[in-house]
């Protein structure tokens, strides 16, 4: 502040600013719902097999899979009252292989549970789904963004929904030459090092062109696959995109379901609420039913990405934590034998020879490190 009369203000600003907004896990107060409401998941397929899954809601704190609803009678009914019955698969799913459902016609679903309660959907029109124009991708900073583009020249689709299945190739940490079987170490014939894993999409993807002059969906960002969070992109990756045409009401349902169950946590959230679908209880009109019955045909498209097409990312193989150890067949009493480890579920990788060339032990590791089938299958998919 000394400036010999000069009007100069020297300002020293000490900044110790560190705001940190944060998101912590939250456990809600113990809320238990008295009811187990029916959940209807699936759609009427205009050109192919229709599958409907029936399950029940459960308390938030439960860790089991949700209870499934078996031995129900599921029927699809046209406007004239002609019904066809779905086949009960016993696992909560009901299928109709060749329902001969007509695009443009109206159908509804009726459900009669084993407990004798009846449910019915509103009539829905089967919409024709236009073809997917392109599934494209772009390598961003640390992962791949997939886009889907489509259009309808007749401008009659307007509302779209997508689901996808990811499949990727990977190798477990060790190539196992032996298998342990009843105190014996035998040569292995199958390959449990090389696998494929498939996962279905878990988030709702919907888009509309109703604010555009043409019915065009241009590069809708479908999903982002991280290069660092998993081994998806390590070897070869494939995505199968399924496209469905929706009605405006179905679009609203899915969009609101997404907003209320996937997109909360911003500064400007509306209050979440239970989205109601188009399925109602006939027995008790006040009983809530979860789910929305859509009806449409389906179009799908598959694309592959090979690791060589990607920038040189450090993609994890998913087995970074693995470690193999040698276990002797006849160890000193302080150590564990290879057989004991085999009994415990460890898998032999290769043989360890002693100085005179005899097998006196095996290198072994846990099945999660050796057997790639723990999370996938070693059967090469037909499309691979």
């Amino acid at each position: 502040m000394v400036g010999a009369g000069k009007r100069l203000i020297r300002i020293v600003l000490v900044v110790m600013f560190l705001a940190g907004s944060c998101v912590d896990p939250y456990r809600p107060p113990e809320i238990s719902a008295p009811n187990k409401f029916l959940v209807v998941d699936g759609f009427l397929n205009g050109l192919g097999t229709s599958t409907i899954r029936l399950s029940r809601t459960q308390n938030l704190t439960e860790s089991k899979k949700p209870p499934i609803e078996t031995r129900a009678i599921v029927q699809v009914e046209d406007e004239k009252g002609n019904g066809q019955t779905f086949v009960d698969k016993g696992d909560g799913s009901y299928t109709l292989d060749n329902g001969n459902l007509q695009i443009g016609q109206n159908y509804r679903l009726t459900i009669r549970t084993a407990a004798g309660r009846s449910y019915r959907s509103d009539f829905v029109t089967i919409k024709r789904t236009p073809k997917i124009d392109e599934v494209s991708w772009k390598a961003l900073e640390d992962g791949v963004q997939f886009y889907v583009s489509t259009h309808d020249e007749t401008n009659s689709t307007r509302y779209y929904r997508w689901e996808f299945e990811e499949t990727w190739e990977y190798y477990s940490a060790y190539y196992s030459q032996f298998k342990y079987q009843k105190t014996q170490f035998l040569y292995r014939e199958d390959n449990i090092n090389h696998c494929w894993r498939t996962e279905k999409s878990s988030s709702v993807a919907v888009a509309t062109s109703n604010k555009l002059t043409e019915d065009v969906i241009s590069r809708f960002p479908l999903t982002f696959v991280s290069g660092s969070a998993s081994n998806r992109l390590k070897v070869r990756y494939s995505i199968l995109v399924k496209q469905y045409a929706l009605t405006a009401e179905a679009f609203d349902y899915w969009q609101n379901l997404k907003r209320n169950t996937e997109m909360l946590g911003s500064l400007f959230d509306p209050q979440p609420y239970q989205v109601t679908g188009n399925i109602h209880s006939v027995t008790d009109p006040t009983e809530p039913v979860v789910g929305y019955l859509s009806s449409h045909s389906m179009d799908e498209k598959r694309v592959f990405i090979d690791a060589s097409e990607l920038p040189p990312w450090r993609i994890p193989n998913g087995y970074e934590a693995c470690d193999a150890d040698t276990y002797l067949l006849m160890p000193p009493p302080t150590e564990v034998s290879a057989i004991a480890m085999g009994e415990a579920g460890f898998i032999p990788i290769d043989a360890v020879l002693n100085s005179i060339g005899n097998v006196h032990g095996y290198r072994m590791a846990s099945s999660a490190c050796v057997d790639c089938r723990v999370v996938g299958t070693n059967v090469k998919p037909s499309f691979w």
Binding site: Y26, P28, I31, A33, R219, L264, G265, P272, Q274, V290
Partner: protein, 924 residues
């Protein structure tokens, strides 16, 4: 006993000084002339050069005098006699050769005869008092306080009856008016409070009075007046600065007890600056939020919920112009530059009849007028914002300007917010203010204010949001006479926002919203007798809303241009209010406002059948109205009644009832006000909101009025308030009535407040218990929320405890500690989970049946004043603060998302730790 000693001491001093002055008399020299057409100031300079005379006068009194004096070698009295001939000025010369030039009458330079001899014969009214124009301020103040001001034309004897005294109270340093100053006499107890222009008008019995003048943050003063007839008295007050010599502030700031107004909170900038804030800068709205009865849904929100009202039910006025979005940066900052503000008044109940148009409250923000005496600047540098204000006279003593600017440095708040969705974001804002005051003459003053604020931000994606407020106010105050004055005000407010995205050229768009309001009003204040204070006026506002345009951006865009048709309406009102002081103990205020609303064409209005839900499918008919055609008229009276009864001078009870009508609504279904909230006028489908409030308050001042305590209870009903359907889409909606549901609300509560605003240790402690519920109209079953039962509104937070405390350690250091606790706001929590579309999802309960965890925060700040050297570059101060001292992670929201197929619960906290800030403020 001590008093007696002091009196004796004082008197003996006078005796001594008088004796010495008499001894100094010497022979006088004549004044050499001539003076030809010189100004009085030049004349004085010449006379002072020639002689040992010293002149004392007010520049304003003599600026029109030209001295033409041809004689030479006359003595000064003769010279002056001639010079002042024909003017209204008089002169007096005392024994020290001091010359006093005064208007109207000459001052007496000697003590009245019999001054020391106050026996039974002396009246209680000495007709003059000692004048001693010593240069020192303190002495001058005392002089002003002891000098007798004669008001009106002197008569002898004094006629019985009342007379009116009016004038302005100004800040002695800057010449700015001071508002909210209590001007009163004690016997009988008559008092008024200065209005926004610093103007007061008080009707008193004729005769001798001691007029007391008190205001928070200013040194108390008083004036001795002899009231002969109606007249004027301009009073200057001095800032109660942290003086080197401790000033004892004796306080009888008992406005809360003696005033009729209830539910009014007044904050001056001094109070505002003491309260620590998250980013170091004094923030008006954040301080308002610490007041009892005022809440918000969350940390970053400046949306005020006053006594259970929603955020759109507050009329926020900035120098009379409506502010539609009072926030910067999602609400982390309020849109008001603290250096511009003089004071803030929040009316929660007993709202005067001159205000209308909103249900819950009126927040009136007044800027300062600018220093009329010298050029000054001030500013501040905080962690995120910098601001600079300049002010000074344009024509000295007559007109002044005040300009201010404020801006953020960069976007690094967002980068520091350790939130993934903020990482790729940017945000900046600025605001500009200009204010000009010009006093044409004593009776006419003009005020001109301009305000512009701009925000732009990008949230994570490429979507760019920006919004701005543009306001202008022109105000002309005209004083007809001491009993009647009027204010003509013209204001215009514009608020608009736009959202645009260019990431995908095919979908590139720009969305725009705008509201324009032009208001003209005339307000009259009339003080007919000591018992009545009447105000009346008319106002009319023209609203033009552009509810939304959606346009393609770029040539590749396929976006179909869309426009929600514009809305237009006229809101007019006529009001009258009378404050009737029946006795010093009992006063009543009656007010009536009649408002009229015309919804005007051109517009297409949809018609829905009665009793069925208003959905797009149910549109029965479309009625087209031509331009300027009156589509719908709503009108109704608004009653404003309040009464006060004082049990004792320091305890009173007040009751009030007020009805408010609101014709303009905000459509936003987000919990915090989103930057994309839209405003909507009442139309045939959306009825005006009507709110009634009863309130009852008890006020008691303790410890010689230094401590104010109050309890206020209220009960409020609200009709036709808007709530929103689940999943409402409000933006670009051509028929927003299909997304809203009509609800009725009730709110009630009790507010306890203990406040001490003076002394080294000051602050307030408040506790509020309040509830607010909504119930939707049950006549249409499909629109029912929560089965048509009452449910807590989003901002129903029953318990609230706030403590704001300041302690001045010494003249340079002061410390502030704030504490706030409140119940968590209601939320909708999931009851169950289920699996759908490849993921677990949650099943929600009814609306607002649970609460987020309770809120608790402590803030600490230390204010360090710069050194007190007289000569230095700038007066500076540092504020070191820690916001959220305990680092508690208060829940802003609690929510559940399905991530990777699994339901997870989250708690979002805006401030995850203590936030230390340093702010440098300067004044030059």
């Amino acid at each position: 006993m001590t008093n007696c000693y002091r009196t004796f001491f004082l008197l003996s001093c006078f005796v001594v000084s008088l004796t010495t002055t008499f001894a100094q008399q010497t022979a006088e020299k004549p004044i050499r002339g001539p003076f030809t057409n010189v100004s009085f100031v030049e004349f004085v300079r010449e006379v002072e050069n020639q002689s040992s005379y010293r002149f004392f006068y007010n520049l304003r009194d003599v600026d029109s005098i030209r001295v033409n004096y041809q004689n030479t070698n006359q003595l000064l009295p003769a010279v002056l006699r001639q010079v002042l001939e024909g003017t209204s000025l008089f002169y007096a010369i005392d024994a020290k050769k001091q010359v006093f030039i005064t208007p109207e009458r000459a001052i007496r330079t000697d003590l009245p005869i019999g001054f020391f001899d106050r026996g039974g014969s002396t009246s209680t009214e000495p007709d003059t008092s000692i004048v001693d124009y010593l240069a020192e301020k303190e002495k001058r103040r005392i002089t002003l306080e002891t000098r007798l001001f004669n008001i009106g034309r002197p008569t002898n004897p004094i006629r019985p009856g009342n007379a009116n005294l009016a004038g302005h109270i100004r800040n002695a340093a800057s010449g700015e008016p001071v508002i909210g100053v209590a001007v009163y006499i004690e016997k009988p107890r008559i008092g008024v409070v200065t209005d926004q222009f610093g103007y007061y008008s008080i009707t008193l019995p004729r005769g001798r009075h001691e007029l007391k003048v008190r205001s928070i943050g200013m040194k108390d003063t008083k004036r001795q007046v002899m009231l002969y007839s109606d007249g004027k008295l301009e009073i200057e007050m001095e800032d109660d600065v942290i003086a080197l010599k401790e000033v004892l502030i004796e306080a009888e700031k008992d406005v809360n007890v003696s005033g009729l107004q209830m539910g009014l909170e007044r904050l001056d900038i001094r109070t505002l600056k003491q309260v620590p804030t998250a980013f170091g800068e004094a923030d008006l709205l954040k301080v308002v939020l610490t007041l009892p009865g005022v809440k918000s849904v969350g940390e970053s929100s400046v949306g005020l919920n006053v006594r259970g009202g929603s955020t759109d039910q507050n009329l926020i006025l900035y120098n009379d112009a409506t502010i539609y979005n009072p926030s910067h940066l999602f609400g982390f900052f309020s849109a008001f530059n603290p250096d511009m503000i003089k004071s803030v008044e929040l009316y929660k109940s007993g709202i005067p009849s001159r205000y209308g148009g909103r249900l819950s409250s009126v927040l009136e923000v007044t800027t300062r007028d600018g220093n009329k005496k010298k050029l000054e600047g001030s500013g501040g540098i905080g962690v995120l914002t910098g601001r600079l204000t300049l002010e000074g006279p344009i024509i000295k003593e007559k007109s002044s300007f005040l300009i201010g600017a404020r801006s953020t440095y960069s976007d690094w708040l967002l980068k520091s917010l350790n939130n993934k969705s903020f990482k790729n974001s940017r945000a900046n804002f600025y605001d500009l203010n200009a204010h000009i005051t010009h006093e044409f003459n004593e009776k006419n003053t003009l005020y001109l204010t301009g305000y512009y604020s701009q925000d732009a931000f990008k949230l994570n994606s490429d979507t760019l949001y920006d919004y701005n407020n543009l306001n202008a106010t022109l105000k002309w105050k005209h004083i007809f006479n001491t009993k009647l004055y009027s204010v003509f005000t013209a204001t215009t407010s514009r608020y608009g926002y736009s959202v645009s995205s260019e990431e995908n050229p095919v979908n590139a768009y720009k969305l725009k919203f705008q509201v324009d309001q032009s208001t003209f009003k005339t307000d009259f204040n009339y003080y007919p007798t000591a018992k009545h204070t009447i105000d009346f006026g008319v106002s009319t506002s023209l609203y033009k809303l552009h509810p939304g345009t959606f346009e393609p951006l770029g040539t590749a865009s396929l976006v179909r241009p869309d426009q929600v048709s514009n809305e237009k309406a006229l809101e007019s009102a006529l009001y009258i209010g009378d404050r009737f002081d029946i006795s010093p103990r009992f006063s009543i205020s009656f007010g009536l406002r009649y408002s009229l609303f015309n919804y005007l064409g051109p517009k297409d209005v949809y018609v829905y059948p009665n009793g069925s839900p208003r959905t797009e499918a149910n549109i029965q008919d479309t009625l087209s109205y031509g331009a300027g055609k009156n589509i719908q008229t709503y009108h109704g009276p608004e009653y404003r009644i309040s009464a006060r009864y004082a049990f004792t001078p320091d305890a009173s009870i007040k009751v009030s009832f007020n009805r408010m009508r609101q014709y303009l609504h905000m459509l936003s279904n987000t919990t915090a006000i989103a930057p994309t909230a839209i405003w909507k006028l009442s139309d045939p489908n959306i009825l005006p909101q009507i709110g009634d409030q009863f309130s009852l308050g008890l006020y008691k001042n303790l410890r010689n009025n230094t401590i104010e305590t109050s309890v206020e209870a209220y009960y409020k009903t609200m009709e036709n308030v808007l709530d929103f359907r689940s999943g409402a889409v409000l933006i670009m909606n051509h028929h927003p009535e299909t997304e809203v549901v009509r609800a009725n609300g009730i709110a009630y509560g009790v507010e306890f407040l203990i406040k001490k605003l003076t002394g080294r240790f000051n602050g307030w402690l408040s506790y509020t218990y309040s509830r607010t519920f909504l119930r939707v109209d049950r006549s249409v079953p499909q629109e029912v929320i929560n089965k048509g039962d009452y449910y807590p509104s989003n901002f129903d937070k029953p318990h609230d405890v706030t403590w704001v405390g300041n302690y001045r350690i010494n003249r340079r250091f002061s410390i502030s500690l704030n504490f706030t606790y409140s119940t968590g706001r209601p939320i909708t929590l999931p009851l169950a989970k289920y699996e759908l579309a490849g993921s677990q999802r949650v099943y929600y309960s009814e609306r607002n049946q649970y609460r987020i965890p309770d809120y608790y925060r402590t803030d600490l700040s230390l204010n360090i004043e710069g050194n007190h050297k007289v000569k230095k570059l700038a007066h500076s101060s540092w504020t070191v603060a820690a916001y959220n001292l305990t680092g508690r992670r208060n829940a802003y929201s609690v929510y559940f998302n399905s991530v990777g197929g699994i339901v997870r619960g989250y708690k979002l906290s805006i401030f995850g730790q203590a936030i230390p800030t340093v702010t440098y403020n300067f004044k030059f």
